[in-house]
């Protein structure tokens, strides 16, 4: 009964929710700040062509961080995404092992490059206030002292080691006015050009 209500609700919201520009979201990539592809993903230019939407990465993810898109995303429908503000990637690397098409290539944990964590120094309380000493991002980072270091007690991201898993974004207590955090993952590797 509850399931039926929930499904009806989903269908209702699909039709009633205001959509800014549906046609544009059909062909432009859904990947942007804090909305990332799973680990090992091929660049965004080739991703929707290679992924067969089998959903095995979605099914295997033990944290249910990976969510498939639905038909409203046009050509990107069915492809997997991680919203790190909701549930970040804990880098268990199960999804890259089950992908049947090589869209998520089999890479070791430390070589994952889902994006790059970028600290907004105006929003971060440790950077813009003298007294606050928040270092949540530093504490939660799975590559502590490598990917995030402390520079005079203020967090600094080392680009070379950051996997873009988004655990820091998930943990960050500061939410900006636009809904993003004080440390955000920018998918800078997703838009690399592809040699066909």
């Amino acid at each position: 009964m509850r399931l039926a209500a929930a499904s009806l609700g989903t269908i209702a919201t699909c039709w009633l929710a205001p959509k800014p520009s549906p046609a544009k979201s059909w062909i432009s990539s859904p990947v942007h700040t804090n909305i990332l592809r799973p680990p090992g993903a091929v660049p965004e230019e080739i991703f929707p062509a290679r992924c067969i939407r089998c959903g095995r990465c979605v099914e295997v993810c033990p944290y249910q961080a990976i969510v498939p898109l639905d038909i409203r995303k046009g050509v990107f429908a069915g492809t997997p995404l991680i919203d790190v503000k909701k549930i970040p990637c804990y880098l268990c690397m199960k999804c890259v092992e089950v992908c049947p098409t090589g869209t998520l290539s089999r890479i070791p944990q430390a070589e994952t490059r889902m994006g790059l964590a970028v600290i907004d120094k105006h929003a971060c309380v440790t950077w813009n206030q003298e007294l606050a000493l928040c270092r949540t991002c530093y504490n939660v980072c799975p590559f502590k002292e490598k990917a995030i270091k402390l520079d005079q007690l203020r967090p600094v991201v080392i680009e070379e080691y950051c996997t873009g898993c988004g655990i820091c974004t998930h943990g960050c207590p500061i939410t900006r006015k636009d809904g993003e955090k004080a440390i955000n993952i920018e998918p800078i590797y997703a838009f690399k050009p592809v040699r066909w």
Binding site: C14, I52, R56, P68, V98
Partner: protein, 289 residues
């Protein structure tokens, strides 16, 4: 089936059992993955893995290769199994495994409880060839758009996806309406989607055009009562040797229905010219026509 039948066959029951087991697998796999974290069996009929044995639906894999222009070993190996199955046994995936077949058959059985008119929807609104054009059109559209989007919308995969969405996220995706539409269309015209529009079925049909297992007609026993044509879910006529064509999906309904046991599954050697449907025979339409 009459009493005088020397060898009563039960392919219908076997097939329903197989369909039910395949559907139960779809129901069970997301539960195992979500609640018990067992990822030994994983996926659904778009891509299924049992341990390290992977299966990938050939249509999906082919479109991925065509659009991304990249070959990937595990993908090719995963596609090889269904291709092998189809080349030996024909379109058996469609009739013995596919969840759309299961839903249609269950719907038929439920309706059969209320009405006696069993053959009420047996008419052919479109020529059979539409199936090949559907496959061709789908591949061309995929190449134009550049993403295998139509495999995402293919109903057999959608059933698995919706079951996963319900189990994992307690929600349904709107594309599930396609499954409902296909099943409702089945009520209007029998197996309309499977007969005329399913690109996966068409691809498996082409692969299985020279299949080894086929239904053969013993014209000596046949009394031409026409029962087999009435029960065929695809509207084929075994008397006209249409069961050798690429359309037949070896479901065995006609074998069960035959009162005089004139029909049977036969393991044929297609290199021999005397078999109808062999390489020298005219009755097999070429799939690419």
């Amino acid at each position: 089936m009459s009493k005088e039948s020397s060898r009563a066959t039960y392919y219908n029951r076997l097939r329903l059992l197989s369909l039910t087991m395949a559907f139960c697998l779809l129901l069970l796999v997301p539960i195992l993955n979500k609640y018990l974290h067992i990822s030994f069996i994983q996926g659904w009929f778009q891509s299924l893995s049992i341990g390290h044995l992977w299966f990938v639906s050939p249509l999906e894999g082919m479109e991925s290769i065509l659009t991304s222009k990249k070959l990937y070993g595990p993908l090719l190996i995963g596609m090889a199994w269904p291709v092998l199955l189809a080349s030996l046994l024909g379109r058996v995936y469609c009739s013995w495994i596919c969840p759309i077949s299961f839903l249609s058959d269950i719907l038929d059985r439920c309706l059969g409880l209320f009405t006696r008119k069993r053959f009420r929807r047996q008419h052919s609104p479109l020529p059979k060839k539409t199936l090949w054009y559907a496959l061709l059109g789908e591949i061309i559209l995929t190449l134009v758009i550049g993403t295998p989007i139509f495999v995402f919308l293919s109903p057999p995969g959608l059933v698995g996806r919706e079951i996963m969405m319900i189990t994992l996220f307690h929600t349904v995706a709107i594309e599930g309406l396609i499954v409902i539409a296909v099943v409702l269309l089945h009520l209007v015209s029998q197996r309309f989607f499977c007969r005329y529009l399913c690109p996966l079925g068409a691809l498996l049909g082409i692969i299985g055009a020279k299949r080894r297992l086929a239904i053969s007609t013993d014209m000596g026993k046949c009394i031409e009562c026409g029962t087999c044509k009435k029960v065929c879910p695809l509207g084929l006529d075994p008397i006209k040797q249409e069961c050798f064509s690429a359309y037949c999906w070896n479901c065995g309904k006609c074998v069960d229905s035959c009162k005089v046991s004139a029909l049977m599954f036969k393991w044929r050697d297609i290199s021999l010219p005397e078999y109808p449907g062999g390489q020298t025979n005219q009755t097999t339409p070429h799939p690419n026509t």
